[in-house]
């Protein structure tokens, strides 16, 4: 079963990439995810392993995953090592005006589980899709919030620099 969700974020791909490559932030924006932790000593990148769990129905489902594709600010894909079979992918595409199109995909199942497996995938799909959709909304909020803070900090430092100048009457033009 493959489910996915997309969203447009008002920040450049680099800002989104920063969020999705930091394992410690997953619990803040991934909805339904109860665990996302680094499972080895590698630094983030190809081959890095994480242990993740997502609450679906009466169980927390997931397992050990490994990053199999890592293209800076563009694509990040993983596949399962243990636990249920899964493939996941972040797809970031730059849009005009410093915006980013973000897609999160998740394909999951249990090979060899037959008809009941198929049925369980179908029954679980709306929950998983909901988790992905809400995760993207939270990601968007977080990235845009950080973007705003960053811009504000930049303006502040500009103000401080201009205020420090000896020339008088140099008020800042933006009122924020």
């Amino acid at each position: 079963m493959r489910v996915g969700a997309t969203i447009e974020v008002g920040a450049p791909p680099a800002a989104v990439w920063e969020q999705i490559t930091d394992a410690s932030r997953y619990l803040h924006f991934m909805h339904g995810v109860t665990r996302w932790e680094v499972a080895d000593d590698r630094s983030p990148g190809l081959g890095a392993r994480y242990r993740m769990l997502m609450r679906v129905g009466s169980a927390e489902i997931g397992g050990l995953i490994e990053v199999v594709e890592w293209e800076e600010e563009c694509d990040l894909a993983w596949t399962s090592v243990t636990g249920i079979d899964q493939r996941g992918r972040w797809r970031l595409r730059a849009l005009d005006g410093g915006r980013t199109h973000v897609e999160l995909r998740l394909a999951y199942g249990v090979a060899g589980s037959g008809l009941l497996g198929w049925l369980a995938e179908q029954v679980g799909a709306p929950t998983v899709r909901g988790h992905l959709r809400r995760s993207l909304q939270q990601l968007k909020r977080q990235v845009e919030h950080e973007q705003l803070r960053r811009q504000a900090a930049k303006r502040r430092s500009q103000r401080e620099v201009s205020a420090a100048r000896p020339a008088p009457g140099n008020g800042t033009s933006d009122g924020s």
Binding site: L53, S58, E60
Partner: protein
Amino acid sequence: MSATATSRNGHSTNPVGDGRLHRDEEPNGSGWPGRLLRALADQITQRVPPADLDERDPDYIREALPGLWLLSSLWFRGEVRGLGNIPEEGPVLLVGNHSGGNLSPDTTVFTLAFSAYFGVERRFYQLAHNLVLSWPGLGFLRKFGTVAASPANAERALRSGAAVLVYPGGDHEVHRPSWQSARVDFAGRKGFLRLALEHDVPIVPVVSIGGQETALFLSRGESLSRLLGLDRLLRLKVLPISLAVPWGLNVGDFLGHLPLPAKITIEALPPIRLRDEFGPEPDVDEAYDHVIRLMQETLDALAAERRLPLIG
């Protein structure tokens, strides 16, 4: 072979948690009912499979998980909390209160949650009554890691570094009347504590509610069981009487029943390390009271959350 002899899997028929030894007595009633029961008991004892821990099959469990998930999520609306309290690795004794008659939904919901959370690779065994393991059609349970409840099997499992689930209350607790749903009742069985002390493993209490609402359990039928001599022959101290689907009045529950879709809530508590809490030589009675009190408090809280029977 008598029911009190050592069976071929090397364990005595004295269950874990039951400190009492059975004397080699003839069952009540000579004549044909007695002989028939003895023959039946022999059959069952012989059918108890040898406890080969290697029978547990992770691939089988993995493939069965979607079915368990459907049953657990849709029928029982299972909710399992506190799995993070279970130590990530190493042997651990999971001690549960048992509910729901011979078809206990707690075990289904918990096995799914445990296997999904820790992965099927983590060794996990459940100790069960001899009757469960020898019943026709239930052989698949051995692939899930269910072994006959005996000190020897528990020891072997813990020594292999596995997580072991025991229900000290056993048949006594699982058939308690439905109106005692929110009561932890181990009938004073303390074998699990001796086991934990002997192997120096932490105990994680696993408290569940809802199982007793899957049928209307009326009585354990202890006197009926004694009258028929089932206690000595089959280690069955009870002959439960319940109102259950589809039988109506259900005596013995030997054929199982269709459990009503009661909401099952399970909570795993933080681990108890007996020697840390009670000194190098813990008093078993004190530790027993402590474990029971903790579990009863949690069960009270879970019961307080429930507004309606079945619905939860």
